[in-house]
Symmetry: C2
Subunit: 205 residues, 2 copies
DNA sequence: CGAGTCGTTGAACGGAATCAATCGTCGTGG
DNA sequence: CCACGACGATTGATTCCGTTCAACGACTCG
């Protein structure tokens, strides 16, 4: 785990929460490779994180011993913010693809939270909008037709930014295999319903 | 829209946020029938809600004129908490099945929020855990096998409480048609992997 | 230079959706 | 108060489309 603060911390895409935290606390840079664990279920919560690059799977061991994947975090996701209010991590975080993260000390965040009601309110708003976003994602996955699901996703997000997330990641996010996602994108492009550049996928009309 | 405060407000299942709000603010009881709108996209936000019974679909009209379903709220869901921090509702809420709700005045909630940092923190924790829950639901929907998906859901929730939610509702929640859900439940029961009572579905072992 | 991953395309299969029909129950309005 | 409509739960048959497996080129990173 490297502990320098390299320039990539500053080169990240903007995120309201991380922007605010970076301004007031000292971010810690973390690099991990596939197979590493960011944290393990049961450990006491010391940090919360923001994932800049890579893929991290959160899974929990149930009482019966089975493992359940709770979430697959992709670039742009925050990790363990829920654990800000618990003593221990309720799941393990295993690195799937070489990851770069920013970490903030839980104690410092909580302290800042207490000192600034305004920040607290901002955090509330962020979480609320995260709930909204997740609900839409959830709803989209109830659309059986791959094509319609993709269209619904683009309509909600207005566009798909493919600079930060790979097509494969997006496919996963909306619950399609990457194969069908590629195929349907192609179809939509051919039928003139979407346009693709190397940074954006947009609806036509 | 009835505006009395009937006893069902007190008979609801417990919910940390609603419990707290009910204690400090005056809840408003609302009954709506199928086809009614709880609120419409663009209206200014006056209330936030808690759904006791029924089903309410949140949908948004996009710029292109298409309608996208953002969320289908079921009994136990909060509605429009995200709008606590916006001026207008960003979607419309249409009643699908006769609904009973509790409403709280936005202004009163915000005022209470300002007066009590402790409540604010509590709200933060609730939203954070909601994020966690939604992420798991999302993840579950990436499991293709109906049977495995159901098992994963029960593992995460520990059990399925079928007193408040119909089987149909649960099927929808995890992204299955009610037909397959019934069928797979039956199979799981027959093969001795789950047990069903009229209030609970549990894993065996 | 080689390993690994992403993007892409092809072929075949399987399982969940879909359509349809039935039963029981609950609420309700005439 | 009862008949009717609506909806949940259930089962059957069929279809279809997304998954799965497989293979390949391009590119990146070490």
């Amino acid at each position: 785990m490297s502990e320098t603060s390299p320039e990539y911390i500053l080169e990240r895409m903007s995120h309201p929460l991380i922007d605010e935290l970076s301004e007031h606390l000292t971010p810690r840079a973390i690099s991990l490779k596939k197979g590493d664990f960011l944290f393990q279920q049961g450990q006491s919560v010391k940090y919360i994180y923001y994932l800049l690059q890579g893929r991290i799977t959160l899974n929990r061991s149930t009482i019966e011993g089975a493992k359940v994947i709770l979430h697959v975090a992709l670039a742009g996701d925050t990790l363990a913010e829920a654990s800000l209010f618990s003593e221990q991590y309720h799941c393990s975080a295993k690195v799937d693809a070489t990851a770069k993260l920013i970490g903030f000390k839980k104690s410092e965040v909580l302290q800042y939270l207490d000192s600034s009601p305004q920040f607290m309110k901002q955090l509330l708003a962020i979480l609320a909008s995260q709930v909204r976003e997740l609900r839409s994602l959830n709803e989209i996955k109830n659309i059986r037709s791959a094509q319609e699901r993709i269209l619904a996703y683009i309509r909600i997000e207005n566009r798909i930014n493919i600079e930060n997330l790979s097509l494969k990641d997006i496919a996963y996010k909306i619950g399609l295999t990457h194969e069908t996602f590629y195929r349907e994108l192609r179809k939509l492009e051919k039928s003139g319903q979407i346009s693709r550049s190397d940074s954006m996928i947009k609806l036509i009309i």
